[in-house]
Each structure stands twice: as C-alpha cells, then as structure tokens.
C-alpha cells in the first residue's frame, strides 16, 4: 500500500452505472485511496464536493443522459485534478476541457491510477 501513489488520497467517483462505479471504487480502494461517492448524478456529485475536499476525481461524462460538465467546472474551480472516464470520443468534450485526461471505457484499474496520478494527485510518499 505504501508504494501506491494514491494511498490515503480521497478520490471522488462520479459514475451513473452502479456496476462500473463499484469496479472503479474497488480499484481505487485496492490502490489505497479513500473513495468519495460514488455519485450517480450531477447533484450527488456537487453535494459530495461541497461536503468533502477530494484530492482527485474520476468523472463519467454521460450521467444517465446528462452531461457531467457542471461537475467538471466545479472541480476546475476548486483546483481538484480529475480525469474523464467515458465511452465518448474526444469531439463531444468542450474545448475548455481539452487538457483533461480521458480514459476510454472499459478501463483497467491500473489505468485509472496512472491517469489520475498523471492528472496531478501527488504521491503520498517519496516512493513511486
């Protein structure tokens, strides 16, 4: 656990599909992270963001038909690093998020960790 870059980091998971959300949550937990959520929709995600201060976030773009960009805006406003986990191609993502890393579904848990780490979650130790 000490070797994981995500150890003791609080990661907000926003994903409308329960099974996928659980998978991501489990992967994060295995990597030593503390999962916030998962949140199935925009409201729940913004709520969680209010109540806790996550160190990073994984954001599904399509939340049951709604685009998750308001959550992305809130995350950017707070300076919380995040990645998109999505089935969509890059072209549906607004220009202001083009710098945000994108993981295409389905993802292996290692991928998520690497992407999030790359997205700016500081490793909790010297070891990598």
């Amino acid at each position: 656990m000490k070797s994981s870059p995500l150890a003791n980091k609080r990661v907000l998971v926003v994903e409308d599909d329960y099974l996928v959300a659980m998978d991501i949550a489990r992967a994060l937990e295995r990597a030593g992270a503390e999962v916030i959520g998962p949140a199935p929709g925009i409201e729940a995600a913004l709520d969680a963001l209010e109540r806790t201060a996550p160190d990073g976030a994984i954001l599904d773009i399509n939340l049951g038909g709604e685009m998750a960009f308001p959550v992305a805006d809130a995350l950017m406003a707070r300076g919380v690093p995040f990645i998109f986990a999505t089935g969509y191609d890059a072209q549906v993502i607004p220009v202001r998020f083009t710098h945000v890393k994108r993981c295409e579904k389905p993802m292996a848990s290692e991928q998520i960790c690497a992407a999030l780490f790359g997205a700016g979650v500081t490793p909790a130790g010297d070891q990598i």
Partner: protein, 676 residues
C-alpha cells in the same frame, strides 16, 4: 433681183440661196462672195447629211435641205440671218461653242437630242454633231461648219435595250424578294429547296430546275421541279468533262445554250443530257470552304439563249436557297440543343438557373424553382432579382451568398452553402449552390449559372448519424465496462470455474437479450411488461409458467435504465427457478405492477411475490448478485426504492421507480395503452 446662176443645183436651198437678197446682209452680194465661202456653200448643199454654216463675225446662218428639215418651222426665215436672231433659243448653249470654233477649235457632240417639226408634228431625234472652223486663203477663221448625223434609230434601240435590262433587273429583284419571303417562313430544308426550284423554274419559264448537294465527287439531287424532274438522282461531276468541271469548281456559272453544239461538252455528257431531255442549261456550284456545297441549275428542253439577267438570277437563287437551307439547319440544331437543355433542366431535382452577369436578372430557371417556392415565386421576377433572392436567405448567410456571386462575376467558380426560409411555408432549408461563370466569345463573364441543391435532408441525416455514432460508442464502451464488472463479481462469488461458467453465461445472455431490445427500441419501445416476459421466457420452462401470474399496464421505460432493470429481473427469475416458486417445489409467482401517483410525482411500483408451500432454507445465492442489484444498484442508478424480503413464506420484492419528472436517471415514463 439678182438672178445669179450660182450656186448650181436643183434643191430647195440652192434655189433659195441663189435668189436670196444677200446684198442687204453683211455678206454682201452673192457675186462678191469670196471663193472660200462659195466652196463651203457648195460642199454644204451637196451633203446628204444635215449641214449648216455660220459665216463672218455676225454668224450669218446658211443651211442645206436636210438641215431645213431639222429647222422645221424656223425654215425658211432662218436663212441669211445672224444665228442667234434666227434661233434665239440656242444662244445659251451655242455661244460658247461658236466662240471655240471661231478661235480654231473643232467640237464634237455625241447623242444630242433635238426636236424637229415634221409636217407640223413635233418629233424628237438623236444626233451626233460636229462643228469645225472654215478658214480663208489667209488662214483666218471666217466661218463655222456644222454637220449632223441622225442616230435616232440607233439611240432608240440602245435605250430600249437599257430599258429592257432595267426591267429585267427590277423583275429579278422583285422575284428575289418574293423568293426570300417565301423561303424565310420555311423550316424544312427539303421544303426550302423544292420551293426555290418551283419559283425559279416558273419565273424563268424553264423546263426544269433542280437543287443538289455536292458529296465528294458526286452531285446528289435533293429537289427538282418541272418536266421529267427526278429528285434523288445522283451523278458524277466528271461526266461533264474536265473543262466544265473546272469552271464549276471555280464557282463560275456555267451557261450552255445548245448542248449538242457546245464544244465544252463531251459525248458522254451529251448522251446523258439527251436522255434527260436537256438541250440547254444554266448551273452554278456554291462550294463551302469546309468541303461540300450546293448545286443549283435551270434546264431547258430546247436550245435557249440565256440572258445575262437570267444567268445572274440562277446564281442569286442558288445563293439564297443555300443560305436559307443552312439557316434552317442551324435553327433546327439550335432548337434541338435548346430542347435537350430544357429536358435536362426540367428533369433535374436541383434548381438550375442562369443570370445576366451585369444586371443579375434571371434569364433562365428550371421549373422546380417555381414549384419549390410555390405561388410566391413571382416576387423574384419583380424588380431586382438578386435582391429578391437574398431576402429569403437568412441574414447570417446573405453576405456569403453575395460574396460568392461577386467572385463568380470575376470569373471564379464557387461552391457555397447557405440557409433560406422557403417563402411558401417559411421552412428553413439548407442549400448547396455551385455557381460558375458562363463566358462570351471574348472570354468575359457574360452570364452566371448555378445549380442549387437542397441539402436539408442530407444535413439532418448527417446530424442524426453523428448522434447515433456517439451514442453507439457510449453504449458499447459502457457495456464493456459492465461486462468487465459482472465478470469480476461473478468470478469472486464462484467456488469453481464450472459454477462461474454457468452463471456468467446466463448473465451475458440476459445482457445480450436486453441489447437486442435496445437496438430495436426505435421501432418497438421497451416496456416493463416486455422486460418481465423476456426474462420469464428465457427460463425455457414454459410448463411451469402456469404457476406464474403477470399483470400490469404497459409502461414505457427509457433505454438508459432498461439494462440494469433487465439484469435485476434476470437475477430474480434465475433464483425463482433455482430455489423459489419455479423450482422443483411447487409454488406461485406473481409479478404485478402499477403506476402510483403521490405528492412527489408518479412512480412505477413493481411487485415480485413468490409463495412457497414448503419452507426451503434461505440459500446463500439469494444474498448474492441479484440482491445487490436490487438493494443497491437500482437505488443507486435509478433512484429506486426497493425492498427485498425473504422468509419461509417466500420472497416479497418491491421496486418503486420514480416516473418521468423525477430526474433523468429515473426516467420511467409514458404509460402506454394496455395490451392484453
């Protein structure tokens, strides 16, 4: 009275001169006349031609018998008097002549008109006239000698000939005008040729007239009029012998007055002409630079001397007929070309238009232009055509359209897309126009043409496709994530690979069933009833189904929630089959649903009730995947309220799904009319 014997002779004038009282004139007594005067008088009196003299500074007039005739009523009073006293009317024209002669010059006048009085009748005659000086022994000019030659008969014949020529020429021109008028209204080359042959033949009084075309070395007669006329006859030019062929090809009119005696014709040509009953003809070939040409001729069955005017007429008719035939052919080609364009443009579903490059007024538009825009089409034809058009283009796109027109006017070819509001119904249409310059002979832009294609439908299709592709990607990738998750969870819960295999297959089948429902959902909306029955049918135990009761209204559910709901129903059904109401222990399964309306909105309430007469131990599996889906996944993903109660009496599971209005995640909506 002096009764001189001189001058001798018995003529009237000899007698008058002999007996005239010359002493009372400046000439003095006849006996004192110098020899030069006497000699001149003798020559004059002896002349058979009219002659006269004017002698001395006073120009005393003397004349002979023939001249007395010309003087008419002025004779005999004119004799012995100064010329201008005797003939005062001649002074103006004659005085300069007299002066010239008296200073030594000879003067000749040709074809002069004179009026004479003959037995009291005024008559006009034509004369040639010469005036010359008479000198005395010292060489001094002492008189004028004048002689006339009556050329009336010759002059009148010439005048008659000229008159005839003029009349012929007038007739020829009148005929050519009639011919042109007659040919102008004809559009068929054959009709033009036939008319020309008939009119020329009748006008010339020829036996026959024919018009043909030169094809290589042959002449093919196209049309003929008259006796023995045989159109469509063909003959070789060479038959007429090299001399005539050379003239023919040089474009000269060939005139044969008597074919039997014309040295230019060989025996072969004569034979042929004889067979065709031709004794004389006039023919001409009009050759085109590009090769080929026309031949026109008039023929006579008897030898005939063709007049110059007739020969000229044959050439004129040939030229006019050829011009009319070519004009008719060009007009026919133009009509055909226009017809071809019209058919093409009218068949096109795209609007085809042509504008004047300067004024931008429409010169052509295909009918679909008018029919596509309905009764309000007329507005484009009033005033400024382009302005009228731009007015229906939406304001944002107007500049693009007028910019395109400007570029095309300067010679560019442009393709542009724009939107317009259709005038007849205000519908917004997408148009794609290809606009191009049409050049004049000098390479300037004379017109601009356009092909305008309605891309509204294509645009909509492309947009729909884009959405569909994005949706498909999303669904496929999400599905893979779900599959990944199910595999992981099934694997974790399976004691061995056989158990894993059985479970994972059933779950993937359930996923696959709902995928096929989703792919057909455009045509068949997914309802809760369809989902329930699909899972029950998949159990493949139809015999057991008399233990199952299913009832509820048709309620449509949104695609995005169908998958998780189907998975949950699959787990319930599988468990019922393995351990519950549909297992070897007989029981009953009741699945009912209804729509509940409460203060918070409507929701779909689904009940899954299994009753078992025999108590079966609560199994491990019922705490597994199915229960997790119902107790956790449905509340999470669909915001559902669920209840899962399992005891000795059976299973009571309720799922309450918020209906439309409760948020996008929970869209169970639209209650359809019940199906039996």
């Amino acid at each position: 009275m002096n009764t001189a014997a001189w001058p001798y002779g018995r003529g009237e004038m000899a007698e008058r001169i002999r007996t005239f009282d010359w002493a009372s004139t400046p000439l003095g007594s006849i006996l004192s006349w110098p020899q030069s005067l006497k000699t001149a008088v003798e020559v004059m009196l002896a002349s058979g031609l009219p002659a006269a003299m004017q002698w001395g500074p006073e120009a005393i007039l003397l004349y002979n018998d023939a001249n007395a005739h010309i003087l008419g009523a002025l004779h005999p009073a004119a004799l012995g008097r100064p010329v201008f006293d005797a003939l005062p009317a001649r002074r103006a024209s004659w005085e300069p002549v007299l002066h010239r002669v008296m200073t030594g010059e000879s003067v000749v006048f040709a074809e002069q008109r004179l009026f004479i009085n003959e037995d009291g009748v005024e008559r006009k005659i034509w004369v040639d006239r010469a005036a010359s000086p008479i000198r005395d022994e010292t060489g001094a000019v002492v008189g004028l000698w004048e002689v006339f030659i009556n050329i009336t008969a010759y002059a009148e014949r010439q005048r008659k000939l000229a008159e005839e020529a003029r009349r012929e020429s007038e007739e020829r021109h009148a005929f050519l005008l009639r011919l042109s008028d007659a040919l102008r209204v004809l559009t068929e080359p054959l009709a033009i040729q036939a008319n020309a042959c008939r009119m020329a033949g009748e006008h010339l009084g020829a036996s026959r007239c024919s018009y043909g075309e030169i094809c290589g070395q042959e002449v093919l007669l196209r049309s003929a009029w008259g006796r023995d006329a045989r159109p469509a006859e063909r003959f070789a030019l060479a038959e007429f012998g090299p001399a005539l062929v050379a003239e023919f090809l040089a474009g000269r009119v060939i005139v044969v007055e008597d074919s039997e005696n014309d040295p230019r014709l060989g025996e072969a040509a004569r034979k042929r002409l004889r067979a065709a009953h031709i004794a004389a003809f006039v023919g001409v070939a009009l050759l085109k630079e590009a090769g080929g040409g026309a031949v026109f001729g008039a023929q006579s069955a008897v030898p005939r001397a063709w007049t110059a005017s007739e020969v000229e007429l044959v050439r004129d008719v040939a030229e006019r007929t050829l011009a009319a035939v070519e004009h008719a052919r060009a007009a026919a080609a133009l009509r055909e070309s226009e017809e071809r364009f019209r058919q093409f443009a009218e068949a096109s579903t795209d609007v085809i238009w042509i504008r004047n490059a300067k004024s931008l007024q429409l010169e052509y538009w295909s009918p679909i232009f008018a029919s596509g825009f309905g009764a309000k089409f007329d507005r484009f034809l009033a005033g400024d055509h382009l302005k009228g058009w731009l007015e229906i283009v939406i304001p944002e796109d107007r500049e693009r359209v007028s910019d395109a027109i400007t570029r095309v006017r300067s010679g560019e070819r442009v393709s542009c897309e724009y939107r317009l509001k259709r005038p007849c119904d205000g519908e917004l249409l997408w148009m794609r126009s290809t606009i191009f310059p049409l050049l004049d002979g000098a390479g300037g832009v004379q017109r601009i043409g356009g092909i305008c294609h309605d891309t509204t439908h294509e645009k909509a299709t492309a947009e729909r496709m884009e959405v569909m592709v994005a949706e498909l990607q999303h669904r496929t990738r999400n599905l893979m994530a779900v599959v990944q998750s199910i595999i992981a969870q099934t694997l974790a819960a399976s004691e061995n690979l056989d158990a894993f295999k059985a479970r994972i297959e059933a779950r993937l089948m359930a996923l696959s069933r709902v995928q096929s429902l989703l792919s057909r959902s455009e045509q068949e909306p997914i309802t809760i009833g369809v989902l329930v029955r699909l899972e029950l049918d998949a159990l493949g135990r139809n015999l057991l189904l008399d233990r199952v009761e299913v009832s509820g209204p048709e309620v449509r559910i949104r695609n995005s929630i169908a998958q998780i709901l189907a998975l949950a129903l699959h787990e319930l059904a599988t468990n019922a089959c393995k351990y519950g109401a549909l297992s070897a222990h007989p029981g009953r399964l009741r699945i009912t649903w209804q729509v509940e309306r409460s203060r918070g909105g409507s929701r779909l309430l689904l009940r899954w009730i299994e009753e078992r007469p025999v108590c079966v131990a609560v199994e491990r599996d019922r705490r597994g995947f199915g229960r997790e889906l119902i107790e956790r996944a449905l509340p999470y993903s669909l915001n559902a309220e669920t209840c899962y109660e399992l005891d000795e009496a059976g299973l009571r599971c309720t799922i309450a799904l918020p209906l439309a209005g409760a948020g996008p995640r929970n869209e169970v909506h639209e209650i359809l009319p019940a199906r039996q």
